[in-house]
Symmetry: C2
Subunit: 766 residues, 2 copies
């Protein structure tokens, strides 16, 4: 230890005392290398205007070959802190001022050269300003007030708006699900879990939820809208329950109702909706997931016995992933290629018993368990194969096509593909439902993440309480645009459900396209938002009790079932192209494409250079700008896709190959269409309330959604000249401003989703 | 049924027969509305040059009020197909030519007006070309040859290159893991699963893998590089096993080795590396995940008994998420704030027994089970709290700081924060390891998805075999850029491991920054690629046996543990800023920022307008262009970040607040730095082989990686004038071309990862 360096700070030369805080920092922060300290030391030595003793003394303190011991540093710190005891937290103080105070306490007023040297040293150390001083002086404050939710609007009013229609049905079901019978159970084995879910399903059936959509004379509630609302509400609970409920009442009972006729309703509907008769919807085959028109299971008519004979020609043709099949199903709606006297009539549905009363598979029916899955393990998915299984002629679900005793086939619909797609109408309901379920799960995840971020503190400015996660800009940018998108999807899906239930027949095809697109967007949004929410809760988010484990795993398959998202978006894109055909009856296909290219092109031709540069907030937040930007992008993509397809087909390429070559373009178009549609539904929803505070917060959310979309595509918008780079930056800034403005409302906005604490269940969020 | 419309197609007027294929399509495709058919019909009627009988006959066939029955359509189809029996598949045929052939077969040569009417009708129906004809004529071909892997390079040679160094160690471990003892087991309960993983761990220890990195005199292999290679290889197996292995041998035994001195090595190292003494690494606390300097557990020295007394002051200070704690751990390295006579010396590590021989918690130690997690449920994570637990003075791991019997504290490192970060050196190893584990899991996922996509067919051109998934452009774009990035990360992580093991002490801080950045990039890449791979395998990917379930769930926490990615990237960004400080010893902090802004700015100031427009393939694929593009982006972000920080700090803002305001910018910089670094390591790796075919495929992969990155940021590059929009499009096209070129090599490229089928295990991939 250096003999000229007294270990007791108070016995240090008063002139040196002014330098002690800086000396302490030089060693304590540990960021400086020995060479750096040597350089600083040399600079001090070269300061001719400084008293030589002072220079030498300082040199001893800053000698890399003889650094102070931990104890010396501790003592230095103690004496610095002591000298600063009467320092007020509001006072602007830095380490040089503190040093001068230390010197003065010993009766030495630092002279000009000393003050200048102090300044140079502080600069060299990079400790200018009050932050470093606060760091040295104070430990961290342990606790800070968690600010109360300060929503700018009436949360109950927003909740009620979101719960319409069927507010009552939702409320009643939430109450039921909040009872102890429906508490989540963790760590169940697959068998136990499946039984639990069946039991929950029975309870729901007992309360009448299973038959809500069916006619009253079969014990139903005659209210398909309420059924859909119940399904949506159920999606805040365990998603295995939701899927089992959907398979039994939506798909199985629903197919009997929609594809069958009076005798099927009489025979089966009451038993199916009470769950006395658990059933399957057996469409998908191992080899044919998305491409259901090419199913291979056959149903051959045998006029001798008036029976259909069902057969599975090979392994690829097994019915696969069928819910309720592995364990509980007794009956199944089986989709198969109908053949009569060697003539194929396409896919039809048959009611086929698969298990007897004792639970044993029926003769000729082979049942395999799909085994453990990534998620949804409360649903007993299985495979079904048929080896000459016979069912009476009356078991054809014959609403759209009939077979008489002699085997004469008749149908009011000539086209076999049109007949097929009419039968598949049920799938639209499936897609609407999956989209709603995905959004409900997203809402749960965001509620948990926003609540956690409103409580959990991490790091923070020196000497102050740690900062709440939600006060970090990156954290806001992770959660709030996703919250805004969830609101947009909410309104778009409510509108979709309304059209599905009450829309006119002639807009059916448009509705199918929209359902496909919204299903893709909502399910990808779920995957993305649940993941982001999980990460935003750090390691806590990884614990099963905090719900992300099941939310993630259970929703994961949503992006590929009821139609793979990529396939669905291509269907939507084709639909967007051919929607033009209707207007121009006998137009040649190539002319159609040329027309689309030109027509959509016109909409995007004119750009006002004033507008591409305009960055005023009122402009960026205007409905007009936002709607125009999303529409412009959609039209531009449509026009250029038509042009690209036309060029290829003109050169003799098959339309299939042409579409494959432009696949990513088609998908971009479909996504742009859905994003635009969601914005239009969001803007339309602003008309649903006349509460100014509600209107204000919903407008902020709509702006955040729209500007976040534009900002995400800013490269594209700039490349196509729609916005100049200054405007792109302004849009990005506006996204950040909106996040900041919405931050105090964040808790209120997730509370408005109305998910009961009992269903949310995550300890970090309740 | 229309009396003028004979049901037997052969009895139809020969002139009408020419129109039958088109009539069939008009009804069969079901896309036309009644009104559209009416319009077509009207157009035919108005065709004055056409024979009146012919017009009338056609009118009967196209009457929306009397559509043909399904049976009539079936018969039409049958007669069309019969007429086309001798049609060769190679012949270019369309429906109008087919119609004329039908007419000729009945002796009628269609006249000019008829041929013209046929053309008009075909146009109106949009069925020009041979595709529609093939659609009508042929069922789909059931089977197609799956093309053999046609790798352009020697797969074994690439595998060997990837396996260096420690090729032998990897091979031996893979053989061991491929034995039946290590078969995966599905559906285990948590207790059973934990025991299975412990048993696997013991087997590995018995083969000497646990002590591979420790000195020979404690039974070790004295080869830290081989230990790391074994860890990396193990990451192709169950990740619970990997984590348990890492906790026991890397963290627990590793901390004894690195933070302890001779007596700790003597007492514990052999038992720890043989797993006789299962142990924990108890650092993280509930309230302090990423911010470990502020841990709250205390270790107070009691000179009377020469013991440290460990205490947990409150719930937030519980050691949380500690692997091996819930069930198997006997011992723990506990990190706590050392206090001696009221003076705090910062965080130090102590060896603390937590369970006795019978497995009962030691007095004063409270152990809780963390319970079920999203993944990694084979690891028994728990919470530990201490209530006045006493350990002898010798149980301080005292390599970097010592306490003598009287309680005098000494350390060769003055700065407590420097001391702390030196102790934390072990964490660098943790981050290197997590990054490697994440990449190994990514390789498994991509191998499964690429193999599946090389076998599974879906949809396809009419009349041909369905198309292989990997022949779809979108599918290639989903998988191949991710494959290229995995190769880039592979080389970057090998280089990182090499630096970690053999790099000079003075580049330690740089290494830490790099490890943080690569850990973030590799773990996010894993989350993203495993998800994409899962979706690319559709519903099959959702079955547990196909491995995505565990790959997803187990890797999910990687993005937040060993440091939250967002926090790590901010550390890296700060490091990038302050790396400039070293060069300019006593520069003021603000000057430093100004300097960085200017310095990095210079690098990006000059843009050659020729180059920003250059789109030649040789240019886009050149190492120069790619390296320059990624460097330019990094420098630009660095310069602008320094400028933004400087502006804020100049105005008096705290540096903490300034960084919070620029957080997303800092993160973008860190990501850009890592992306650039990976490319440079990729380019460097090209020197590791002189096999021209290997060099070629690796260059393609490097180009794909680089151009995909540039394309991802194309909005940014355009906004900053680095590329013009034409060049941006050319880059995007080049990404697609590279995917097409690499497609035949895809199988070979995943096979080169060398993951044994027994470890891959997915039925869809082996």
């Amino acid at each position: 230890m250096n003999p000229t360096r007294p270990t007791d700070a108070t016995s240090i030369d008063p002139r040196l005392r002014a330098f002690l805080p800086l000396v302490y920092v030089a060693w304590a922060d540990g960021n400086l290398t020995d060479d750096e300290i040597r350089e600083i030391c040399a600079a001090v030595h070269g300061a001719d205007d400084l008293d030589l003793d002072c220079r030498t003394g300082l040199g001893h303190w800053l000698d890399p070959d003889d650094p102070p011991s931990p104890l010396e540093l501790q003592r230095l710190l103690a004496s610095i802190r002591e000298a600063a005891l009467d320092w007020s937290r509001d006072e602007k103080l830095d380490l040089t001022a503190l040093g001068q105070r230390l010197a003065r306490a010993e009766g030495h007023e630092p002279n000009e050269p000393e003050v200048a040297a102090l300044g140079r040293l502080a600069d060299a150390l990079g400790v200018v300003g009050s932050e470093a001083a606060r760091h040295v002086l104070s430990g961290r404050r342990r606790e800070a007030e968690t600010p109360a939710s300060l929503a700018s609007f009436d949360v109950a009013a927003l909740r009620s708006l979101l719960d319409r229609p069927h507010e009552d049905c939702r409320r009643r079901l939430r109450e039921l699900l909040s009872t102890a019978d429906f508490s989540y159970r963790y760590g169940l084995g697959t068998t136990e879990y499946r039984e639990q879910v069946l039991d929950w399903c029975r309870r729901l059936a007992a309360e009448g939820y299973g038959g809500l959509g069916f006619p009253e004379r079969f014990g139903g509630g005659d209210d398909p809208g309420a059924f859909l609302a119940a399904f949506e509400t159920l999606a805040s609970h365990d998603l295995s329950l939701l899927v089992k409920f959907g398979v039994q009442f939506g798909l199985f009972a629903g197919s009997l109702h929609q594809l069958g006729t009076e005798r099927h309703h009489e025979n089966y509907l009451a038993a199916a909706s009470s769950l006395e008769m658990p059933g399957c919807f057996a469409m998908t085959e191992t080899g044919h997931g998305s491409n259901v028109a090419e199913l291979e299971t056959t149903a051959t008519y045998d006029p001798a016995t008036e029976e259909f004979v069902l057969s599975t020609p090979d392994e690829e043709a097994r019915k696969d992933y069928i819910g309720n099949a592995a364990r509980h199903g007794r009956m199944a709606t089986v989709f198969a290629q109908l053949e009569i006297s060697g003539v194929g009539h396409g896919v039809h549905a048959f009611v086929v018993p698969i298990r007897d009363e004792s639970g044993k598979p029926m003769p000729g029916v082979r049942i395999e368990d799909c085994g453990e899955k990534l998620g949804l393990n409360g649903v007993d998915n299985g495979k079904l194969s048929f080896d000459g299984v016979r069912v009476p002629r009356t078991e054809l679900l014959d609403r759209f096509a009939q077979v008489d005793a002699e085997g004469n086939y008749s149908s009011a619909i000539s086209s076999s593909s049109k007949r097929f797609f009419t039968m598949l109408g049920t799938l639209v309901g499936g897609r609407v439902s999956v989209a709603m379920a995905a959004l409900a799960a997203t809402k749960s995840a965001l509620t948990i993440a926003v609540r956690y971020a409103s409580r959990r503190r991490q790091f923070g400015p020196a000497g102050e309480a740690e900062t709440l996660l939600l006060d970090y800009k990156t954290h806001q940018l992770r959660l709030l645009p996703r919250l805004a998108k969830s609101y947009g999807l909410h309104f778009a899906l409510r509108d979709l459900a309304d059209q599905y239930l009450h829309g006119p027949e002639e807009s059916r095809r448009e509705l199918e396209g929209l359902a496909a697109g919204l299903k893709a967007m909502a399910t990808w949004h779920a995957t993305d938002s649940i993941q982001e929410s999980r990460e935003a809760c750090g390691a806590q988010g990884y614990l099963a009790v905090n719900r992300f484990a099941s939310l993630k795993a259970d929703t994961d398959v949503f992006t590929t079932f009821e139609g793979d998202n990529t396939v669905l978006l291509q269907l939507l894109a084709k639909g967007l192209l051919s929607s033009y055909r209707k207007q121009f009856g006998d137009m040649k296909f190539l002319d159609l494409l040329r027309f689309v290219a030109a027509q959509a092109g016109t909409a995007v031709a004119e750009l006002n250079p004033m507008v591409t540069r305009e960055t005023a907030r009122t402009h960026l937040r205007s409905v007009d700008f936002q709607a125009d930007a999303l529409t412009w992008r959609e039209q531009h993509l449509l026009s250029s896709l038509a042009r690209r397809l036309r060029n290829r087909i003109k050169k003799g390429m098959d339309s299939f190959d042409a579409l494959v070559e432009c696949q990513d373009h088609a998908i971009a178009l479909a996504k742009a269409h859905v994003e635009n549609h969601v914005l239009s539904r969001f803007h339309a929803a602003l008309g649903n309330t006349d509460d100014p505070a509600l209107t204000e917060v919903l407008m902020q959310l709509a702006s955040l959604y729209a500007l976040d979309r534009i900002s995400t595509h800013r490269g594209w918008y700039q490349a196509h000249g729609y916005v100049e780079s200054g405007k792109a930056r302004a849009i990005r800034k506006e996204v950040e401003s909106l996040c900041r403005e919405l931050r105090p409302d964040a808790l209120g906005l997730v509370d408005a989703f109305g998910i009961p604490d009992a269903l949310l269940a995550a300890p970090i969020a309740i």
